[in-house]
Every structure is written in C-alpha cells, then in structure tokens.
Symmetry: D3
Subunit: 309 residues, 6 copies
C-alpha cells in the first residue's frame, strides 16, 4: 500500500518518494528545519494542537514565517490524514511529521524564479516502521547506555526547539549500538545530569515516585507531559529535577517516553540491572492506564506490527 | 546558462533543480551530512585534494562508507567540473560543493527497495552567487558583530568535521544582520575566545604579525592554512592562539578568510573602528600576494561579478 | 527646588553637589561600595528595614564596620527624609539611596589626619528623575534584549550583595540601547539562564502562573519579594526557577520589577512579541493590586511626572 | 609638603583633598571608570605612552569620549608632573594616576546645568606611599596566598581593560591578609590557572626560564612587558603559558611585578617554601638589570623611603 | 580494653592492628574502596540497613561482587558487634565501619595463589575516638571555612558513592585547620554552591526553615535524611536547594550533620558570625528531639567521653 | 623466586605479603598516598632522581614530612634494589615503587602508642608482571577508547601529584575493557581535550611531528619527558598542546608512554583505524632509539617475558 500514501509538499500533494528537498535549501545547508512528530490513537491524531504550538514557537525563534496560521496548519494536517487514511490498516496507528524550513537560500535565488519561500511538508506513515521492530523490548526493557557523546547544551542549540541540527544524536546512537541491539543512548549534560534519549525523554521510579530531568536540555515531549499528568491522576507524584547516573543505578525502575512508542522500559543502565532487572510495576501501571486513556492497548498493538513488517 | 549546469547525484547527472534529497534521508532527519566547498582559480579547483581529505576524515568519524575511494571522488569531481565548464564565463571562477550523507534511514527501508546507500552529490556554481554581492566590501571592510549566539563547543559537535548541523550559524547571522548589511557574525566560545565567522575564519594583525584563533572550535579552513603558509613566505609571523574581543579592539587590522572570497577585511568590531577604520596594509599585502599566487586578481574578479548578477 | 535638598555625608548634611567622594576612597579604587535604593509611597519609605538589613549583610561580608547600628541607620534615614520632605511635591514620591564604602585606603592615610573611616552617605531625590522618562512604557512595554554581555556569576562577585563593581551593567545597557529607546538589557548566565535586568528583576507569566529566576545570580529585590507575596495573596502561584530565552519566547506575559518603577511590562524579547505583544492581564492585575496595597496609583503617578520634568 | 600637590580635575588644578567625585557619577554608580598608574624613574614618567594607549583602548570599549586626543592627554600629564615636581624629594620617585569615567549619569542631568561630560583627573603622589611599607619584603619575599576568591573571567569583566569594578580584589586582599602581613593574594581562574595578584602580575622561574600566565584573565602590565623584554635581552627565555599552583610549588623562584615596586620576590606559596625559600638568583639578576636600565637602584630607593614616611 | 576488639577481615576475626591491607590491593593502588560508617545508640546500630543499601549501590557501580548478599552482610555485622560489645563501656556508643575493595590487582596474582577476591572488613570502635575531642564544640559551635579546595564534581568522582579517593578532603582539612582548632572545612562546587563538609552534611536555618544543599555533589548522609524526616515531624520545612556563602552569612543558624556526632552547630562562616553567633534555637530543638528519638542524650554522652580519652 | 623479594616497610625489610597497611592509615581513609614507579634498564634504575623529586613535590603539597631527605630516600632505594637483585632474572628488568602516606590518623592514635608517623614503603617486582601480558601489543597496537569517564580536572585533584585517589582510573578501565582485550582507556577533560591514559601519557604523530597534551590534567611522566628529549635529538619536533578526538582520528600514528612498557602503539581510536592501522614509522623509530639509549631492546625483552609468566 506504500505507493498510495501522499505527502503535502509546498502546496501540492505528492508521492512519498517525490517529497524531496532541494540541495539549495536552508534545511540542507544549515540543518535549519523545525519539525513535529505526532501519532494517532485509533486513527485520531493525539494532541495535535500541542505539537503545532511547539512548532510555531520554533518558527518564531527562527524568524520563519510559514505563511499560514496555526489553524490553517491544523486544517491542512487533517486533510493530509484523511487523504491517507485508506492506506492504514485498521488497528494499526500512524505517525504524522510536520517539517518547516526557511527554504532555498538567498545566494541561489536566481534558481527559484518564483521567489524564496519556506519549505513545508506534512506526511504520515504507518507506526510499525518505527515501533514494529521494538515491540519485544516492551517485555525485556532496553539497556540505557550513557554515551561519551553528550547533549548540546541549550545555550548553544536549544533542544526545546525541535530542530534537525542534531548529528550528535546520530553519533550517540552509533556509540550505544556498539553495546548490542537492545542498547539505547542516554545523553547527559556537562554536569553529568541525565538529559534525554535521542528522541525520547527519560524517567526513573524511586520509592513509588516518578522523577524526570528538568525541562532544560531536552525536548519537552508531549508524551512526557501526558505521562506526568496521568501519573498525577493516579496519585503518583512526579518530580522534575536533575538526576545523574547514580540515581538511575539506585532507582527501582526506569523508562523512556516518546510519541511513537509512548513508553519503553529501561531495565539496565550501562549494563547494570535497574531494580531487579525486570519491567517495574509503576511502569506497567502507567502504561496500562495510558492505554486505557487512549483506548488502545499500546503494547498489544505494537506486537501486532511485527508480522506486518 | 543556469539550466545547463549538471549535478552529480547518486550516480547520475541531473539538472540543478532536480538535485533533491529525500525527506527520509539522514541529512534531513539529523543534519547528518558532511560537505566541502572548493573554489577554482582560472577554472582550476584550488587545493581540491586537501578538501577531499578533510571530507574523508568526517566520513570516518561518522562511520559512513561513501563506497568510493578518495581517488575516485577526485576523478568524479573533475568529471563534474569538465561537464559544467562550458557554462562558466571566462574570467569568472566557480565553486564546487561535495556532500555526503548516511542516506535514507533504516525505519524507512521499505521505501527504498534497492537498499540504503549514502547520498552523495557534487555540484558547482558560478562564484558570483556568493561573492558578487560582497565585492564592494573589499574596499570598506565589514563590521564584525560578536553575537550572543556562541559557537557550539567541539566536544558537543565538532566544527572541524564540516557538517550541516549548524542552525546556530543561521541564528548568529540573523542576530548580526540586525546591525546592518555590512555586519558579519563573529562567534565566540564560552570563555569569550573568538572562534570563527559563520563559514569563515578570522585573523587579526597586531604589530605586523598575524594572529588567528587556535584550531579548536573552528573549521580548519583550507584558505586559512593557505594564508598562514603565504604569510610565512612573506616573512609575516602567524600565531595560532586564543584571542578575545579585547584583542580585536586593540588590533591594527582584521579580516575574515573563506574559500569563496578568500579574504574580507573587517574594519569594525561591534561598530568600533579597528585600527584607523580602513583596510590595513598587511591585509592588502597578503591579498595581493594571494592573487599573485593563484594568478587571479581576486578583488578585481569579484568586482566584475556585480553586473553579471 | 533642587538646591534645597540635603545629603547626609559622613556626619554632616551637605548640598547635593557637595556630596562628593575623595578619589582616594576605596569606592573609587575598587568599586568597594555597597548601597540600597528605597522608594516612598505617599512619602513614606517602603520596606526601609528590609533594605537596611540587606545593606548590613553586605557590610558584614566586606568586613566594613559602619560605626552605627542598623537602628541608628534607620533613625538617620528618617532624619534625612524629614529634612528633605519640604522639597518634594505632594503626590510625587521619592527615592532614598544609602551608600557605604570602606573609606580612604591605607596608603593615603597621611592625607586624612583624622583617621580612616568608612564613607557613608544617605540621600534622596524625586522619583521623576528615574521614572518620569519611562512612564509611557507602562502602556507599550519594553523590548527585552538578551545581550552578549552576561551576568558576572555570583562566585566571582555576588550580585546579592548590592555593590558598585558593576561596569558590566553599563556595558549591557550600551549593547541594548543600540536596539532602540524601548530596549532594556536582559542578562543571562553562562548556561543561558535568565538572571536579571541591569537593576531590575524579571518575571514571566505562563498559564496564569508567575515564574522568576532562582535567587542566585541576581540581586534579590525587595520589590521582587513584595510581588511574590502579593501574587500569593491573589492566588497566583510564583515559581522561582531557571528560565531561558526559550521560556520567555513561549511565555504569555513578562515584566521587569524594581524599586523605582515597581513593575514594567516587557512585550518583546529580542524584538519578538511575547504573547500577543500587549501588556498582559496578569501583569495588569498585579500592578493594580500593588497600587492598592500602597494606596498609590503607580502608573498614574508616573505619568504625572512627565510634565514636571 | 603634602598640601602643595595639585591634581588636574576636569579642567582645573585642585588641591588633593578637593579632588572628589560626585556621588551621581557613573564611576560611583557602576564602577564605570578606567585608569592608569605610571611611575617615574629619576622623576621621568616611565613608558607613559604605553599606559595612555591602554587607557584609550579601555575608553573605546566603554564608548567614552574623553574629549581630548591621546597627545593632549600626554601633554596634560606632563603639565601635572611639572607642577608637582617641586613637592617631590630628590631621589624619591612618584606615581601618576589617570582616571576617566563617563561622568554624571543621565537621570541626574538637571543637577549639572553645564551638561554631562566625562570625569577626568590626573594626579601624582610620592612613591613611598605604596612602596615604603613594602621595602623590607624585597629581602624576605612575600607569601603568595591562593585565595578562595577567584579572578572574574575576562568574558564577564575584562581585566585587560584597567577598570575599577574590582571589589573582588579587595575581598581577595582581605582573605590573604588573614595569613599575616607578608601574605599577598594570588588569584586563579576557574580552571585553577594562576592569573595575577591584586594589582600585580606574577612570574615563576623554572630551570632558568621565566614563565608568566597567558595574557588573558590579567591586566597586561606595562612592567610585565618590560620584564619580558629585558629577560630576552639577558638571554632568559620567557614563556607566556598557563601555570597552576602545582607549578609554583615546583618552581625554583617566583615574583610579582607591578608599576610601583617593579618586582617583588615571592618566597612562599600558601606558606610552603618556593625553591629554597630565599630570593632567587634570576629574580635578583632581573631586578638588578632593571635598575640599571632605568638608572635607579629600585630596592635601594625603596628602602630609603621607610624613614620618610 | 583496646586489645580486645576484633575485626572481621576477609573471613577471619583479627586483632585491630592486624587488620591491614596488602599494598597490592586495588584499595591502595586506586583508592578503589567503598565503605560505610554506622553508629549505635544504646549499643544498637542505627539505620544499619540504610547504610548497607548505600554500600551495595556503590559496589554495583564499581562492579565489585562482595560474594555475600546484603542480608549476609547484615548478619555478619551483628556478629561483629556482638563479639565486641563487652569492650564497650555502658553509656558510650560505638561506630561500625564496613569496607570493601576489589582486592589485589591482576598483575600481582601470582602472589595470591588462592585467587583474587574482594577485600572486606568490618570493624567497630568506641565513639569517643571521633566525638570525644569535639564535645565542647556543641556549646560554642564551629567556624565553617570555605576552602579554596573545592568539591570534586560528581561527574568525575561521585561522592554519593562513599569511596576513599578523597585526598581532597584531607587537603581541605589542612586548609581549614590553619584558621584554628574550631575551624571546619566547608566545600563548594565550581558554581560556589555549598556542598558538604569533609565527611559531614550542612544545613542552614532561615526564618525558621531548614535548607540543605541539593543531594548532588555530596554524600547523601543517613543522618541528613534522619534530620530532614525529624524536622518534618516537628513541623519544620526543609528545602533541598542550592545555597551559597551569601546564604550562610545571611542565615540565622547553621550546623553540620554526620553519623558520629549527629549535629554540630556552626556559629561562624569564614570567621563571620552566623545569626547572633551562638547556637540557634532550631538547631537546639532538633538536636534535643533527635536525642529523644534515639533515647540518648547525644551532647551529654559526648561530654562524658572527654575524661575517658 | 617470589618469596625471596623483600620490601622496605617503615624501617624494616619484610616479605612481600607482609607489606600491609593498617586500615587506620590515611592512605586507606582518604587515598592520601603519593607514590612513584621507576623501572630499571639492565638492572639499573632509570631516572630514579627525577622520580624522587616528583615524589617530594607531592609530599610538600600534602605537608607530609617523610622524615628522611631525598638523598636518604635514594640511598634506601638502592639498598632495596641491591637486596632484591638476586631474585631478578638476568635480562629481565624490574619496577620499583615508592609509597608515602600521612600514616595512621589522629583519632586512632591510642592504637599506635609509638606515635603517628608517615607510612613509607619501597618495593620492587619483576617487570613481566605488568609488561609480559602486553608484549604482543607492541606489534598490533591497542585500541584507544575515549571513555565517558573523564579526567578529574587538576583544580580538584591534581594528577601532577602522583596520588592514589584515582578510582576514576579504575572506572575508566572498566569502561574500556568492555570493548575488548586490546582496548585501553583514553581520558579527556571537560573540553574534550585528550589528557592521558590510566597510568600512561599519550602522543600522536602528524606530518612527522609529535604532539602530546599540555602538561596540565596529566601526570607529567618521566618517560614522556624522555621521549620528548629523545625526539628532539632525532630532529623530530614535539608540540605540547591541546588535542581532541578529531586530531587523533586525523593523525598518522599514535602511542601511549609509561614507565613500565615505555611506548605502546595505538593503532585505533574508538575502533577507527589511526593512519593505515599499523604501527607507524615514527613510533618505531623512537622506540628503537629509546632502546639504543638504554641499551636494552625493549620490545624484545618484553616478548621474552611471556613464557616466564
């Protein structure tokens, strides 16, 4: 069904492989691109507005005018989803990606006789691309590896602005993967404070309470926020504060959070078991309640994706 | 003549506007792209091998195998140049850009049935795109603005590896441009040491000697190296050492260096005159001798570019 | 009426222009001077005791013995106020400044045959000197500019000790003023955390809650404290925590606070609108309630100062 | 003879005790004052021009226009010296201090009907004020104490710009003096690198070579420069590089340098003997040769000052 | 009675002076040793389990397998206590020390034909060794000295893992002791935040509330935790947050906490009085309540130790 | 022959296994121990005096009086060597270790009725303990791994003072060993500058010149110094300057240096080949010339050690 998906690309709807960015675009010249990743539950985009609001903060900082209001962007997104809905299997959710760059750069303007405008694309793809391969890890948990590659501190490049100048994520991934297939990079800042995974937030559980890093050198994940709110409703306190490798070793449970997979248990840190080395009860509870909230059995759906791939 | 230029793109030669990168490419997902910019003198690429060697160090660090040797890359470059030579005006030189990314990412592999390979493109364009608009500044000099945006320290993202995760260059440019058209961003590190411009190195002249920042939080420019070597031949000592805003204010002359424009005088720092506020003698001398070395009057050629545009 | 104001200066009451500090004083040799700025409401000094307590902490740290108790200093202040009251217009408040330095330095002792004592002066002036020129900004708000000049971290010179070694305030002011008359400097620390203005604290409003930087690299303003307490009474939570430029851009409202003008809306950050770019409702509410608390319409009085000048 | 010295103060020549700065001056409000300290040898100012050039760099950075050229300042200085020469004893040299502030601040302009101009004063005093009390230390050396108060790094307040926002010098002095009368503060930066004394540079001698800190977080002393040049002539290599407490402990000799006393041996570091605990041979040699160069026996003159006082 | 105490040492019970570690042990080669210090109240170990849990976190991080479970370690401890109980005077408590190193290092294995195993010892000694000499300080308080030696930040060597690579404690002690017998070292981190004493935590009291540094660059003391919990029961809020020297100077009371002496008032900071310079009421209250909680008059017992010594 | 070696231990000569340090010693309580490691060539200690001088600098800093002069220490060393010479095989060299701690701590003084004295031991062992297992690596080179454990910066614990508070070496070793038997830890500082191995210095070769890190956050190895001097004699320039991972990747050759093995090629960095991945020519040359200088074929001797073990 792949060839049927359509991508909004600068005012048109194109085939997936035709969604390509000019090499003269600021996105490729400077990593000057902000984006969002939203997922659906039961084929409904989850917290789409929150994602778009974060996108528009990024655009404001970068002084990029997307030439459409946030409402227009939301409408357009719904149009993209609707157009692609027939390509998605029932019971399998999808991801939506919004991307906006400054567009082709000034020195190359003669190549673009219609003028220089921001590059905007919105596309969606089946969730099993990202989640399918991970589904067994819901049971075993991953091995969080603190890499020698550290987070870029926010005063240099602010990760709160979800941007694509993040080659260091890729380097951290390479470093972590040397420790095995279940190894995920866990970044720290210069002080040794845990920041985030490469595209995921991080939580520990200690004495029945959640702790997640201060929202500074991290992307402030929409799922992270949803988990904090959900925990509160469940009577589980969540602290946003600095934690270090020591705290993870001494914790009872730990997990990553991210839009596509929602929550992923971490049962090891640098190869050392966290708690008793199995997926913890608080982790399980929150994931179960999250599933209830969105009326989708998140793990179950993920496991169904494997044969699909 | 624009429509005649051809770009090497993943094994093919395509039209300029058809050189486009898939939105599923690591280049767009992570700014995971290394590149080089070479210029010609008299239509001969200048220090092409040095540029390619730096490219290959970057690829080694990123563990990207370009599937061709450096010799093959060099041959291919010559082929690209030859193919495009007819499009270049006599007396006007050109730039060559090499770009290599890891290619489309794993989760999207089903979209690429032929397998995931690095994305490689080599293209060239007339020098007046970048240099034409600047040519009058050879006479007046630019106003170097120390921006509140600082360099990303090398331990986070190494600028010595010429990569495209550099949205902070664009932010610095935006900050500098608020000070006028002749304002160029000058970055510093966390200690207030001058690092580089956004795509250029920086030198000051003090008591007849050159000083340029330590080759740490900078791209180690090929032109920078050429200037140091040339100065040596001219009996001008060049120190590589930490300098601060104070040193620039107290200097006699200053200039940026970069492949396209070679050298660009800076006659102000944060709006304060450097020396007597005109282009300095040492700067002029080196630029004149550089022109001799490459047998091209660099400034003169630049000025000829203006009407072309 | 200017020539009627009297200044307490080292045991005497002198005319304003005769209040001058010897060039051999530690104040001029080392910026070795602590001070306080108090304002009146309805001609009554506001929180005078709190100001004096802060002054005495500074004196303790600097090991300067002012040769009078805090009670004596308070009495003396009242005497200064009383003496000058006739010079102040009804309905226009005034400021009181306390200053204490170590006095003339040891090597110059032969010039001071009566011995070396601390230099102490207490003076007051009409509020319109500082506030008159700003009064229109209560309506439009100011443009907060994050300068490349950063705060001096507290481990080097502690801003909590209100001292006069702060040439960096003046440099930040110079940098900000290049962005226009409504541009106010906003300092950050080395991590990019907002600290303070140059003589003012800073607050943002987000989702109906106040956030103000941790009381570390800042002067802990008496007005800042008063606003936090007032907000609490109004049911508005105030968090003291690290905030960055990103948070200001993403905030709904922002304002500076300081003794003379109490609160000043910031409707822009680096030229980008904050919220919808007008003075926010929470800001207005707190300022209105502050006015009630002190029984002075702060903005109204400020506006009345303009013609006076 | 004291009452005969005259000070140039804002266009007039006044008595020493009448040289006083308005409390509304930027110097007292912000420590916004740059200055120079020059000494004479045989009643001739030593390297006056170098001092004035440094002063003018500071003024440029602070954007203060002194309303006179450097040549005019030099002439004026000579006039001040000449006027005061009769007050100086033969064989006892003197110091000259130049001070320039931005002048009274804008908000107080109504107090200064003639307009706001920079505050400028030039004065001189007999050398024994500063040097007399130290003269016995030429024989014993001082005890350099690394204080917990550190240097303010240059990116916050640049010590290369000789300014008066330096309350931290005074705090360091207080900390050092707790270790005895012969204890002098020795500052370090954040990395533990030695920077300077509080108004003096620092050198160590190791294996017959001089080492002095990189000219970054220090005032670049004119005497420091003179010593480096003199050493070179004597065939003694001098390295400008980072040194730490360890290097001082492991050194053979050490000394401070400054305009008034020229060189002062340090025979202890934190109470530990340096070398064999006596004034070293290289130190003695350089001091002797410096004396020759200026045709004044520096130590001898200093010792003669004691009874004068 | 000294010669009767027995020490568990690698499976045996030995005399105190025979408890010695091979010079080939990792403990002596790398400071590669974790330990715990527990005290008794009424001859019952206080919070032994908490101490052992912290020990086992350290062992996990160091990848040292102690070859016994935490339960076995607890049993063994009780055995050691029981064996030594006859040596302790009634009414005088004791300390227990647990120590575990990696054991002799690989290169020296031929010296240890029985194989390389961790080195483990458990010993106890009368409390008056450590506390006796301090007992008079409960009345006067100590003088907390901020040393130029700073804490090693946790990202280099984590103090939360109670280890023996802490020569910097000894250096800080040496620096503090130069200020007198009642001077105790108080460490700070690189930002000037108070961390801990050398083997003790630190609290201040301000406006009736307790404040103690964030549990980052400190050992997270078991007694610290007990005090926080006790304060809570007494209705005294305790904040864990960054404090600086300024906060201590401006505080009402201060004290150190540690296992052996429980609480020790600090009535001075760098020689400056804290509050009114006497032991504060909140300090007294908590210490009294702690005594009640453990049914031992802590100060009284300490004072009884003096003649014993 | 093992049982015949004797160790000088606090005034006595004892068997190897009897050289044990009391658990009450400052060495075990604080890692408060300085040491030296010297090796022999042809059974003659190499640069013994240099090692002892470094030892005595450390003792001075720690204010430990070893109660013997450096000459006495040297004589004693010779005595120890002589006594043990019969145990060493001809053609196989040995190592000498000097260790000095502050001795048992004050609180435990009653256990040491003879008083508290420094603990001093001098011992020697056959070189094959440390070098035998490594000898094959002279041919293949090691894989230098930049660990996430970084160097402790010198301002916290100075590595130039060769001390035993270095659990972080052991942690770095553990991290490196996960990458294989040929993986050696390579530490960096906070800026990402290479510092040293865990007990070894590091050099790279680039364009025929040697570069080794600035002697700051490293132990300044005696062998390092010897190599620099030797290179100079061979006409090979050696720069002491900051290098980063990038420089190692881009270098032609690299090697570690240390007393026991002298030089050890590093042919990989983080698994990436350095140069062409084999032992480089400059490395070979220097090692060969070093062998000549000491008249011992270093590699050959090392290889002979393998069967011995």
């Amino acid at each position: 069904m792949t060839d049927k998906r359509k991508i909004y690309f600068n005012g048109e709807f194109v085939d997936e492989l035709d969604a390509r960015v000019s090499i003269f675009d600021s996105a490729l010249m400077f990593g000057d691109l902000v984006f969002e990743m939203t997922r659906s539950f039961k084929h409904e985009p989850f917290k789409l507005r929150e994602h778009l609001e974060r996108l528009y903060v990024g655009l404001k900082i970068l002084e990029i005018d997307p030439l459409m209001t946030i409402d227009q962007m939301e409408d357009l997104t719904k149009q993209v989803v609707e157009m692609n809905l027939p390509t998605f299997k029932p019971g399998i959710d999808f991801q939506i990606m919004h991307s906006v760059s400054r567009g082709p750069l000034g020195p190359y303007h003669s190549l673009f006789p219609d003028g220089l405008k921001p590059t905007i694309y919105i596309n969606c793809w089946p969730l099993y691309w990202h989640v399918g391969a991970l589904s067994h890890l819901y049971d075993t948990g991953v091995n969080a590896i603190i890499t020698s590659q550290r987070s870029v501190p926010a005063q240099y490049i602010d990760p709160k602005m979800k941007n694509r100048s993040r080659i260091y994520y890729q380097i951290a991934n390479m470093q972590a993967h040397k420790f095995g297939d279940d190894a995920w990079a866990l970044l720290t800042d210069d002080d040794g404070f845990i920041t985030e995974g490469t595209g995921a937030n991080f939580f520990i559980v200690k004495n029945g309470e959640l702790i997640t890093p201060e929202p500074r050198n991290i992307l402030r994940g929409v799922t992270r926020e949803a988990i904090i709110n959900l925990a509160e409703k469940l009577g589980i306190t969540c602290h946003e504060k600095n934690i270090e490798a020591y705290d993870v070793v001494a914790s009872d449970e730990a997990f990553f959070s991210s839009t596509p997979f929602v929550m992923m248990p971490a049962t090891k840190i640098n190869g050392l078991t966290i708690g008793n080395g199995t997926v913890g009860n608080v982790t399980k509870l929150i994931l179960k309640e999250f599933s209830k909230m969105v009326d989708v059995d998140i793990v179950d759906q993920a496991k169904k994706m494997r044969p699909l791939k």
